[in-house]
């Protein structure tokens, strides 16, 4: 923060090419009222690529891991209904613990590492995915299950060929919420020492340089909405019967 005053107050038009290549100067900071400095953003966009990919990688691992655990738990609770209240309460507690707190509580155990971030982030996704899979399986019409049984299917066949496909919209719905929120929350992985886009906001003089913050927010929102759209498209192509019914 102290380094702000030391920056040269050069107007963008007065400097040559070399000025922009020199990453130690920021022409737009001459006027602090600028919310977003296009020149600076265009010049420094390559700085965001690696952290953004790092954040996406954390999210991908965490959501896949969270999905595998939550999905398994939901299938177990599907047959053993007495497990439902404790599982809902347990995943609810993991969901309610703030991620930043979770990261730091893991520090004495797993240290500053990507593992710390992945554990906390996947714990956060459990409740969202577990609840959606359970609701999806509950909403399968009894008539569909009866028909399947009438055709001679076993419980296992009914689960994989009838119940789960019919529950797919809710399951993917849960995956969408989990993915979008985790992409946003993974910005806090800086507190776990796991990199991502968070360090760009938290470190250095950027706390008072809005352009960096706006860039990070924009990148996170665009990544989140892109993955939301991809999952929505997967749902659309994976459930052809829903289209047939609505047309």
């Amino acid at each position: 923060m102290a380094s702000l005053a030391a920056l040269p107050l050069a107007a963008a038009g007065e400097v040559g090419e070399g000025f922009f290549r020199d990453r130690t100067t920021r022409p737009c900071q001459a006027s602090s009222s600028h919310l977003f400095c296009w020149d600076w953003a265009r010049e420094h966009i390559d700085r965001y690529g690696t952290p953004a990919l790092q954040q996406l990688e954390l999210v991908a691992i965490s959501v896949v891991l969270g999905f595998l655990i939550a999905f398994t738990l939901a299938l177990i609770a599907h047959r053993r209904r007495w497990l439902r209240p404790p599982l809902l309460a347990g995943t609810g507690i993991l969901y309610a613990i703030p991620s930043i707190s979770f990261f730091l509580l893991l520090l004495p155990i797993t240290g500053r590492s990507r593992l710390t971030a992945i554990i906390a982030l996947s714990a956060y996704t459990l409740q969202i995915i577990y609840r959606n899979v359970t609701v999806g399986l509950d909403n399968v019409p009894a008539s569909a299950k009866d028909s399947a049984r009438g055709m001679g299917m076993t419980d296992r066949q009914i689960l994989w060929r009838v119940e789960l496909p019919l529950a797919l919209p809710e399951i993917i719905g849960g995956l969408r919420i989990a993915t979008v929120s985790t992409i946003a929350i993974a910005t806090l992985a800086v507190f776990a020492g796991a990199g991502g886009l968070g360090p760009l906001i938290l470190n250095g003089p950027n706390l008072h340089f809005p352009t960096t913050i706006v860039m990070v927010i924009a990148i996170v929102v665009v990544m989140a909405l892109t993955f939301d759209a991809i999952l929505l498209a997967i749902q659309y192509f994976a459930t052809p019967w829903r289209r047939a019914r609505s047309s």
Partner: protein, 237 residues
């Protein structure tokens, strides 16, 4: 043995930090931590959390009830919900501090912005899912629009509304942890000030923040049970 000893040493130090003041090497002889400071900062964090949550409810609840009742703005509500989830808290707080300025008022507004989408969307969806024939029956009994919302739609949507409020509360109390970035002291003080409070302070802050969040979550769950109408509870069992 050698693996577990530092682990317990670290948590032990954090517990000690919570209950009794510690010497710090940067405050010049003054002690840091201790139960008094922990309680004070816990109340600071609770205060800004409750203020922001109330502001979010005051804005989002009537809007969700109205749009749900009218059955309008579905795309807007869902889009808002999705975009709201996608906003990084750290970015929002930092941007607010950099552009609008620091302080309790600005922070409350920024936190309320995080809380509005889940409350609005869940209220909207909850009201939309109320059985239309129930609403028709209420109209048939001569209820006005306002009475239909107050006596039928809102009570029947209470589970969904509380899902939204609890999601908002979890997000707000978590984000209030980084409030020191916006010049407001909360328990995040311990977490963000490692050079003053040491590693024990950081872990102590994380423990108290987690407990505060869980206490808030359980209180809201209890409140939800109190506010759910007896008839609806009967139906579910």
């Amino acid at each position: 043995m050698s693996l577990t000893t530092p682990l317990f040493a670290s948590f032990g130090g954090a517990i000690e930090f919570i209950f009794s003041p510690q010497a710090s090497n940067v405050t010049g002889g003054k002690t840091v931590g201790g139960i008094d400071q922990v309680i004070e900062l816990t109340f600071d964090q609770l205060e800004v959390t409750v203020l922001a949550l109330l502001l979010a409810i005051v804005i989002a609840l009537p809007a969700g009830l109205y749009f749900g009742h009218r059955g309008k703005g579905e795309l807007l509500a869902i889009g808002l919900g999705n975009t709201g989830r996608a906003i990084p808290e750290l970015g929002l707080i930092a941007l607010m501090a950099a552009v609008i300025g620091v302080g309790l008022f600005n922070l409350t507004v920024a936190l309320a912005i995080l809380g509005i989408p889940p409350i609005l969307v869940n209220t909207f969806v909850g009201v939309r899912e109320v059985d239309r024939s129930t609403v028709e029956a209420a109209r048939g009994m001569g209820m006005t629009q306002f009475e239909v919302i107050r006596k039928v739609e809102a009570p029947m949507a209470v589970t969904s509304i509380f899902t939204g409020i609890r999601t908002a509360a979890i997000g707000i109390v978590a984000t209030a942890t980084i409030a020191p970035l916006a010049g407001v002291a909360t328990l995040g003080e311990f977490i963000l000030g490692e050079n003053v409070y040491g590693t024990n302070g950081v872990v102590a802050g994380a423990i108290v923040v987690a407990l505060l969040a869980l206490a808030l979550e359980f209180s809201l769950a209890g409140l939800q049970r109190l506010l759910t109408s007896k008839g609806l509870k009967l139906r579910r069992t």
